[in-house]
């Protein structure tokens, strides 16, 4: 209550007293009092507790003055609050008058309410601004809070302390808990994929969306989880969930690295067109396509986007989500025959769903065999198969160099693999390289074998094609149900060289493995093996003729004779089973 209001109330309270006085008595002092001397006046004034000391100048009539609101109130200028309000309203109306509005209209006080809340984006940006180690602590606390392992008062105090905003910012704490929930969902998705839980199928898109939102908030998800596991250790309170997220990142990077540069460019360009269209700013998607670790590149893209407006952030988030949707580990499905296979996210990855590109600029990702529709079913077979079971479709034979060349040019192996294979070729002995050159035998890197020779098993890592004298070495093979890098290049190349050497070295046409001396060595080794061993090595006559068996032994033992080791258990058995053949090829026999 203002001082003016207090004065008014005092005035009203004094009125009853006035009523009891006659008109003459309505004065402050009676006649006797009016006719007093100066000493009496001083006595009365000295009795006034609000007496003006005179230090500020003026007299007792100005002992108290209230200055403001365009007026001065004192004992001499008595103004009520109502009087002041009228003046104020008039002045304000004059100041704020809109053209055509009467200034004496009732003044309407207008205002607005501003919600002092912190948005999810602001939470993420606040976290992103922290050092990685602190980000990790906050994220960990968010997970714990979500898992209700941390009471909310302690949680708010912790988050506020780490974030440097005190413990009163409830919105930030709630946002962090929301982030913790999102992280738990991503971790749960990772775990379900890891365990082939079919529930993961429904969560893939959501997980990608969540990660996209976190990244465009500027939070470097995988760097933070790495920081947590690195700084706090794998035994930290929240290590399990964060380990699962790290695993997911590794899987995404692996799938990215398994793609050829062309595939990466196509995928990035396709999703950029679909999601980033209309943005005036670039997000360095070309650079992203060339990155080795796509998770780091996406984190950088998210951090860049976090500095932009909400529209750009939303588009960047969708782009990231789409990228992750393509790259996240594939769900596992079970075929009618009981085989568990990775479910391609893009149906065009299935040979049976081959789709021709709509245009030369079609950015679809698929292998050559898919492109040409030459392998029409996934390789698979039933243990109870009958003779008329169809396990794969008709393979076509590419009958011209030009067609094979076109296949390689359209879906080339990665530059990295080409360089890797060149180094492996360089590691051949000079006489081997000379032999290849003199006999016109070429070595060609291909992305997948069935890009050039549809109908071959997807596990096939290398082939020798005698009609064109070409050895094809694959960059990718089907390992463990997924396309993986060919990790047996050194031995595989020498094995295929062995086939080429065996078939071409004798100028009279017979194969070296059919020459009498090799036949004798082979027979000697062969006779040492039991029928069970021969069956186990599929070398008995019920599997193949002796001429075919010798060719296989010759090629494999040739590769062993070069001193290069193999990681193929079957090949190691062959080495043990045919010591005499090996000694011939090593010139020790």
């Amino acid at each position: 209550m203002s001082e003016l209001e207090s004065k008014k109330k005092i005035d009203q309270a004094e009125k009853p007293l006035d009523n009891h006085a006659d008109k003459s008595e309505q004065r402050a002092f009676g006649a006797a009092e009016r006719n007093v001397d100066a000493s009496k006046i001083n006595e009365i004034q000295n009795a006034n507790p609000d007496r003006h000391t005179g230090s500020a100048g003026g007299d007792q009539d100005h002992s108290i003055e209230i200055v403001g609101f365009g007026a001065t109130v004192s004992r001499k200028t008595k103004l009520t609050e109502k009087d002041l309000a009228k003046d104020l309203a008039r002045d304000l109306a004059r100041d704020l008058a809109i053209e055509g509005t009467a200034t004496n209209e009732p003044y309407v006080l207008k205002g607005r309410v501003e919600e002092n809340a912190i948005t999810p984006q602001a939470v993420l940006e606040k976290i992103a601004a922290l050092p990685l180690s602190k980000q990790a602590q906050v994220v960990g606390a968010g997970i714990a809070a979500y898992q209700q392992e941390l009471d909310h008062h302690r949680f708010r105090t912790f988050v506020g302390t780490v974030a440097g905003v005190g413990d009163g910012l409830v919105g930030l704490a709630e946002g962090v808990e929301g982030l913790g929930k999102a992280m738990c969902e991503v971790a749960k998705f990772s775990r379900e994929v890891m365990e082939n839980d079919p529930r993961a199928v429904d969560k893939a898109a959501k997980a990608g969306e969540v990660v996209g939102q976190v990244l465009v908030g500027g939070v470097r998800l995988w760097q933070v989880t790495d920081a947590y596991l690195g700084d706090i250790g794998a035994t930290g309170d929240y290590a399990k969930a964060l380990k699962d997220i790290v695993w997911l990142g590794q899987q995404i990077d692996q799938r990215w690295q398994a793609m050829s540069p062309e595939e990466k460019s196509r995928l990035t360009a396709k999703l950029a067109v679909e999601n980033l269209a209309g943005l005036a700013v670039g997000f360095g998607t070309t650079k992203l396509a060339k990155s080795m670790k796509v998770t780091e590149a996406l984190e950088q893209l998210g951090a860049d986007a976090s500095q932009l407006g909400s529209g750009a952030r939303e588009k960047a988030g969708k782009f990231i989500s789409s990228m992750l949707d393509e790259l996240m580990p594939q769900e596992i499905a079970v075929t009618p025959e009981g085989q568990r296979i990775a479910m391609p996210r893009n149906p065009r990855e299935l040979p049976g769903n081959a789709i021709e590109p709509k245009s030369p600029r079609d950015t679809a990702v698929f292998s050559m065999s898919d492109d040409l529709g030459e392998a029409n079913k996934l390789p698979g077979k039933s243990p109870t198969s009958k003779a008329d079971d169809l396990v794969e479709a008709k393979p076509k034979i590419r009958d011209s160099d030009a067609e094979a060349r076109a296949a390689i040019e359209k879906f080339p192996p990665s530059e990295k693999f080409v360089a890797q294979l060149e180094r492996v070729i360089e590691s051949l002995d000079p006489f081997e390289k000379g032999y290849l050159e003199r006999n016109g035998i070429k070595i060609e890197p291909v992305r997948r074998i069935d890009d050039v020779r549809p109908g071959l098993e997807h596990k096939t890592a290398g082939i020798y094609e005698p009609s064109r004298k070409v050895i094809y070495i694959a960059e990718e093979v089907l390992h463990r149900g997924n396309w993986s890098r060919n990790d047996d290049l050194m031995f595989m190349l020498r094995h295929e060289f062995g086939h080429a050497f065996n078939a071409t070295a004798n100028r009279f046409g017979d194969w070296l493995s059919d020459r009498p001396e090799f036949i004798r060595a082979f027979r000697a080794d062969w006779e040492e093996l039991s029928l069970e061993q021969l069956d186990e090595l599929r070398l008995s006559l019920k599997f193949k003729s002796l001429a075919v068996a010798r060719d296989e032994v010759f090629s494999d033992l040739y590769a062993h004779s070069t001193g290069v080791s193999s990681n193929n258990p079957y090949s190691l058995k062959m080495k043990v089973a045919f010591p005499l053949c090996l000694r011939i090829l090593m010139e020790e026999y």
Partner: protein, 116 residues
């Protein structure tokens, strides 16, 4: 001597050694060629359950034009193809091995009944 390469060349020495005896007659060469061609259009998929319960796979494959393909892999428990390999090769205990044979018949790969 069937090659004009230097004697120190290991490949040449192998060629020379294996070519010392008389060459085959055309009939003998044709028989050997026919033996090899009998394998065209065949796939052998060998699998063995290792002591560590991984499954070693080895693939040999011939297309109709004589192209030979090879591949190998190891599948561990939990891998996408593990259960299928275990079942299709009937691998019951470590050391068990089997070979599935497929033939290319009328353009399609057909599992043969004599597969092990």
């Amino acid at each position: 001597m069937v090659s004009d390469q230097p004697a120190e060349d290991r490949l040449t020495r192998i060629i020379n050694r294996l070519s010392q005896e008389p060459q085959y007659t055309p009939e003998e060469s044709a028989r050997l060629k026919a033996e090899r061609e009998a394998a065209f259009g065949t796939t052998f998929e060998w699998a063995e359950l290792q002591q560590d319960l991984t499954i070693a796979i080895n693939i040999e494959q011939w297309l109709l034009d004589g192209t030979q393909g090879h591949g190998s892999s190891i599948s561990a428990p939990g891998d996408a193809d593990y259960e299928f390999l275990l079942k299709s090769h009937n691998l019951l205990k470590p050391g068990d091995a089997s070979t599935i044979v497929k033939r290319l018949i009328d353009g399609v790969w057909v599992v043969q009944n004599d597969s092990e």
